[in-house]
Amino acid sequence: MKLRALRVANFRRFAAPVAVEGIADGLNVLVGPNEMGKSTLFDALEAAFLTRFKVTGAVLDAMRPYAGGDPIVEVDFEAAGQRWRIRKQFGRGATAILTDIGAGRAVARNAEAEDLLSRLAARGAGRADDAAGRLGLVWIRQKRALLPPTPDTDPGSGLPKPRGEQAVLLDAIANEVGAAVSGDQFEGVRAKVTSALNVLLTPKRTGIKRNGPLDLARQARDEIRGRLDEAEAAASVAQNRLDRIATKAEELAVLQSPEARKQSAAHLAGLEQRLEAQKHVRTRRDLQRETAKAREAELAAASQVMQSRKSLLEALTLKRQALGEAAALADDIRRLSEELNREPVTPAALERLLTLDRARDVAAAELKGQAAVVTFKLAPSADGNVTIAGAPVPAGTRIDVPGEIAIDIKGVGTIVVASANADRGSDLEQRRIAAEAALKDALDTLGVVSIDAARERAASRAAKVDGLAKARARMAALAPDGVEKLRDEVNALDARLGRAAAAQPAVDAIETLAAAAVEARAAYETLSSGAMTDQAFDALASECAALREKESRRDAEIASLNMVLANLKGEQAGADEDGKAAQADALKGELERATKEVQRLEHEAQALRYLEATLAKIEEGARTEFVAPLVRRLQPYLAQIFGDAELGFTDGFAPERLQRGSVSEPVAALSDGTREQLSVLVRLGFAELLASGGEAVPLVLDDPFVYSDDRRLEALKTMLARLNAIPQTIILTCREEAFNSLPSHRLTLGAWSDAKTAS
């Protein structure tokens, strides 16, 4: 498609009719200052191709001039090898007329005109609803270049849009990679999956669509299940009632039949006979039990007698031993007592001796302290010449002199030596002699020669005291009441034993008693085994009693059972009429069917979901592959502007990273100018893709290089001048200077002189 003219009247700022005529092939530039209305022209161009002539509301209001009036847009274009004119009037009297300029006649009007227009605009894509997507990709509004192609989802609902710019781009790329058929088929299949699923599930697939087939099938199934539960409950009640009727009827039949009456009587008689027999058996058993107990008691008594004599004998033996020992002990005690009585060296006597001994020692010591000391240092020649009281004094003698002493020295005379206090010395001497005498006297009295001898005697006496105490203690244990008493006891036991021996039963008599006891017990056991347990006997007795009671109440019971049965049968007849239970089988079948249907639909929904997910996954993979043709298209443009550079894309064809040499930068981080340039280059790539895949669409750029510096702008212009792959480009710009040097067709905005006539 190529544009040839654009005419506008009553469109926003253009209340007066204006026209851009003579749009040429290749590069066209419309230069105009800000406020001239370039963007309005752009909007008018879009309105001609994409806005429904019957549009109302905000969209229409936005197109109207400030002064009011109905907007008119007219575009001449070439497509499918022919020249066409689309003329749209919006608002009151809205019309759309498509004219074949060559033939000079209107070929379609209104909706049909718009439909045909879409087909012409989308030629090559094969789908009329692609027009918006195709034009959207390459008609770039001011600053819009910075945005990626609009995605195929509706930002409001989050739902996929049938045909957006991405879909168109994908198709164009699919064309390129030779998957044209499958691309279309793919979309077709996906649309069918979606619509099939939309019937079953909610749009977001998170739930079951209300009142859709699956929902209805589930409702039906649940409703049937509820009814079946009711029917089965009723059936179960009926079943129980029938069982009760059967039981009660059987009881009644038994009660009523004469045969049963006879049987019952016979049964009772039998029971009573058994009861009587048991009573007899039980009495005999009880008697025998007493007998057995008596025999066992006799045996026990006899055994006890034997046992007691044996104990007596043992006691007697022990007592006799004790008696022997006690007699010997009595002798010992007597002897020891006598010996002790004869011994004067008692501990007190010994103590007194020791006191006297100490007194003598004290007296001797005192005497010694009082004495003068005479030491004889004699010459050898003096031997025998020195005497005291006639006794010679050997050399070296030393003597104490408590009083006076006369030392005779032959040939010399006598030397009397006296202590300082001779009187006291003499006194002490006397006391010492007295002490000595007292001690001697004491020793003599005791009959011992020395203190040591006295000690020995005292120790010997203590041992005897000890022996006596032990003997007495043993005696107290053996014969607390004396030996004679013990002897009496022995004699008494002897006598008892004699008597007991007389009364002792014979061993064989005991054996006889034992045999009798065993026999009596065995007889009891035999009777017991033939008798009922108490519990069984009581049960039998109760049964008898109950049966007797029942027999006596038979007629009353028959009447009562008849009443119960009549009631139950009445209830049953009512239930039969109600018929709810009768539906159970039918409902079971229905439930089976309904459940199958739910399962089928659930499986279907699952399968379709699975298919939907699989297609999405496949497409995802394809999308990645699909970036390649775009990158290839873009590469020469990138090289012209950025040198050695490569641009990476997101899945949605938004530029993502720019790689320059070894530096990779996210596009979002680049300067406004660079981003703007990149985006325009991407659009060039899109335009080339569309051109190669079908009939080309003109590239329209509204103020594309607002942020570009002069150097870049030069490079861009050079590139635009060589845009061979894109048949028609229209640039709307305010930068007159900048584009002056660009070899291009210059467009001008003039008056639309025949606007009225045309309308």
């Binding site: 998957a179 499958s182 299949v189 059967a246 009827a249 007849a573 039969d576």
Partner: protein, 377 residues
């Protein structure tokens, strides 16, 4: 002297068949009731005036009064026939139960419910010894009393009972056991049995008539009544006569391709001469290409129209996308990729979603074909 009678059983009147679509369910229920006049006509054709129904006359004890009235009305209309009805395990004669209700509703003059194990004079020289069931499982052989039932000499003794014959197998549906040699032990000229839905001879004079109108898929020759002739005390003839409106058939076939379907069609034609009265349960196994799967759907539609009911279980048929299928999906395109992906999962029997994937694959192919047809038109 001789006597001729019709032996039938297991009518199960009132069976609802609601597992089928409502229209078919109605027809099947109606077909059961329609056996009454049909059997009457067959009896007349055989010069018989007695029809012995060996139990399970009614499908359930809980049958509604209106269904009961309708059944007896059908029998009353055939007023030259005596209908002798034996309670079976589906309709036992319980106190306060179905047969008491029937008595309350009123039994037509030409209908005799046999509610007691007591001799019934069928004809001057023939005595019927019925063994009615008084519960679903009485826990005893109900025919035992026949051994000691006294009858005058020279009179034909005919037994009528409902239950499984011991040694014949547990295929019968009731838990009631009947001695295999009862006819010999009780000196019966003929023992007419019910419970087993197919026609079957146990001994020379002990027979299951089977149900006159089939009611399920197992193939055991249902759909007949027996015309019995007794001369003196001796059984002369037992003749099997077709009585069914519908035939039910179960088939299993392994398929590899569309080429296998004519064989199935031939198999169907051997089952019935009137396909429109055939209910067919067809279990398929093997594998089919996507194209053949689509063709199977068409075949199903075609034959669903030809037969009274067609239930195809194709869950055993593996889906295999062959080269041609892949070609139809664009060969190397995205759809072919999707098909290959789904096929890999469908083929992996251990994959939890292989059945879903198989269905998804079939749908993919179907939608693709539809898309292509739309594009072409």
């Amino acid at each position: 002297m001789s006597i001729r009678f019709i032996h039938t059983a297991d009518w199960q009147l009132g069976k609802p068949f609601r597992q089928f679509p409502p229209g078919l369910a109605g027809e099947l229920t109606a077909a059961r009731l329609a056996v009454v006049p049909r059997i009457a006509a067959l009896a007349r054709g055989k010069d018989a005036r007695h029809v012995l129904v060996a139990g399970d006359v009614f499908d359930t004890e809980r049958l509604s009064n209106i269904d009961l009235r309708r059944a007896f009305e059908h029998m009353a209309e055939q007023n030259d026939i005596r209908w002798l009805l034996l309670p079976g395990n589906h309709d036992p004669s319980r106190i306060g139960g179905l047969w008491e209700r029937i008595a309350r509703l009123g039994v037509p003059e030409n209908v005799t419910p046999l509610l007691e194990a007591a001799p019934y004079h069928l004809a001057p020289d023939a005595i019927l010894l019925p063994a009615p069931l008084t519960s679903k499982n009485p826990g005893r052989d109900p025919t035992e009393w026949m051994d000691t039932a006294a009858t005058a000499p020279g009179i034909a003794r005919i037994g009528l009972a409902h239950g499984s014959v011991q040694g014949f197998g547990s295929e019968g549906e009731s838990a009631v056991q009947i001695a295999r040699d009862r006819a010999a032990r009780a000196g019966l000229a003929y023992l007419a049995l019910g419970d087993w839905h197919g026609t079957k001879s146990i001994t020379g004079n002990t027979w299951y008539s089977g149900t006159p109108e089939p009611d399920r898929f197992p193939d055991n020759e249902p759909g007949h009544v027996l015309a019995v002739a007794i001369e003196g005390e001796r059984l002369i003839e037992v003749q099997k006569i077709e009585s069914a409106t519908f035939s039910w058939s179960k088939m299993q076939h392994a398929v590899r391709s569309l080429a296998d379907f004519p064989a199935i069609e031939r198999a169907i034609s051997t089952r019935t001469t009137t396909p429109r009265t055939l209910l067919l349960q067809l279990a398929l196994s093997g594998s089919l290409s996507l194209a053949d799967h689509a063709a199977l759907d068409k075949w199903r539609e075609t034959w669903s129209g030809k037969l009274r009911h067609l239930d195809i279980d194709a869950s055993g048929v593996a889906v295999e996308a062959d080269a041609e299928d892949i070609g139809n999906l664009g060969g190397s395109g995205a759809l072919a990729d999707a098909a290959r992906h789904l096929m890999a999962i469908a083929a992996d029997r251990t994959h939890p979603e292989h059945e879903i994937a198989a269905t998804a694959l079939v749908r993919l192919y179907g939608f693709a074909a539809e898309t292509e047809r739309e594009a072409a038109s």
